[in-house]
């Protein structure tokens, strides 16, 4: 139960996941923002107007999967760190990361699920930390397809731990 544990349920997740067909087409944003809070920066960050304009600032974000290119611009704009980009065909996931040290390209790190459990090893393939992101780095990792929808965080450091 999301409200008791902080872990979204599969129902919650289903409501923000595009269908298989869209996933197979290429990268797309998954916005895991489940309660109506007064917040709207994600809308302003999307260059393709894929996130619908908020009628009411309390609305939940609504993504038009057909307009989303998976560019990842929105990831670092979200103060809730709730936006991820999944690239199904390429087995890639991009996520926001605000811890130091940042991993380096090529590093093998732990992939953590939404409950914080290390579930698999993943490979870092991109680290973006431009000034405009204001210290929220966007990390792209490669991982096994079956974990694409499970891994939502990484742990940098010794893999043996």
């Amino acid at each position: 139960m999301l409200k008791r544990t902080g872990i979204p349920t599969s129902d919650d997740l289903q409501s923000v996941t595009p269908d298989k067909e869209r996933l197979l087409e290429g990268p797309v944003a998954i916005i895991e923002c489940f309660n109506e809070i007064p917040c709207d920066p994600c809308f302003y960050s999307c260059p393709f107007k894929a996130i619908k304009k908020f009628d009411d600032i309390n609305d939940k974000p609504e993504l038009d999967y057909s307009k989303c290119t998976g560019c990842g611009n929105c990831i670092a704009s979200c103060p809730g760190l709730a936006i991820f980009v999944v690239d199904y065909p390429k087995n890639r996931l991009s996520l926001p990361y605000e811890f130091l040290p940042l991993p380096s390209v090529g590093d093998k790190v732990w992939g953590l699920n939404r409950a914080g459990k290390s579930i698999c090893q993943v490979e870092v393939i991109k680290v973006k930390d431009p000034d405009k992101n204001d210290k929220t780095a966007v990390i792209t990792i490669r991982l096994s397809k079956k974990y694409l929808m499970e891994v939502r965080h990484i742990k940098v450091g010794d893999l043996d731990e």
Partner: protein
Amino acid sequence: MILLINTDLLVIGGGPAGMTAALKAAKRKAEVIIVERYHELGGQLTKQTHRFFGSKSEQAGTRGIDIARGLTKEIQNMSEIKVLTEATAQGYYEDKIVTVSYQNKFRKIRAKRIIIATGASEKMMLFENNDLPGVYGAGAIQTLMNLYGILPGKKVIMVGAGNIGLIVSYQLLQAGVEVKAVIEADSEIGGYLVHASKIRRTGVPIYTGHSVKSAIGESSVKGAEIIKLDENWQMITGTERFIKADTICLAVGLRPLVSLLIQADCAMVYVPELGGDVPIRDENLKTTNDQIFVAGDAAGIEEATAAMLEGEIAGLKAASEIGYLSEDVVEETRRLKRELKKLRGGPIGRKIRRGLSKVRGDDNVKKNRYSHLR
């Protein structure tokens, strides 16, 4: 002789509410003094290293500390505003004068209008051994960590899953501190779920329906005994569990800082939804004392976007009452009120709306909790 300073508008408290209030009034050419008890402006914002929520047009997505820097710079560029830091407003007197201790000197300030934007203070919680060294308020931990770069400990138990508890947990994690658990008495997480999810996925468990029974340790915290609560928040014996930690951080709520308002004889009501005693006021944030406005957390615990909007509304109104009228005031005030209404419109704002319904009107004035002092 204690020096007396005259001004149009006195703003007490230099947080987001006070800063925007001063700016709005000064832009209409009012002469403004801000008194701030710390050595710099910014209030709570100076401790917030995370990105802010709220409306993009009121700077959401920007880190709190950067919002403070931006506003401070704007204020420094206004010749109409005089900022006194390390200046604590100490009292309000019948002759409408405020006393201030300013860098160890006493001053009296007489202003045509006063905006009180003193923010809030932290609530405490009762449990056994709550005076053991290692028990901190979340504010103290933020000050240590984000202003002075000092870690409070290595393993922390956070009490309270409201936004503050969740955000401070995240900041502790970023500083390399282990957060052993977040304990919340309510059956649900009170803060934004995105904050909860973001600490949860780093591996921090969140125990809702739990409380701290006692802090364990002889001379300092070695851990805490936590316990399950039933629906009526009563402890269920037999469910105690020990968690090892060297720090217990309390984030169990804030209460508006209203002493000056009480001294100024503003009618006060107890509104739990807004954090405690708050002043009765009209929609321009004017209290029942004609000289005095209130804005921000001092008017009721909310968040920075609301504090800034309230500050702007009060600043505008105060300036026009002093006589600095400009054509756009009506339109501008209307826009600000619309923004504020939108912000409070959603489910998160429900509690605030309920609270606000208790701070208007003559019936509520009669509930003044301090009327016996008159």
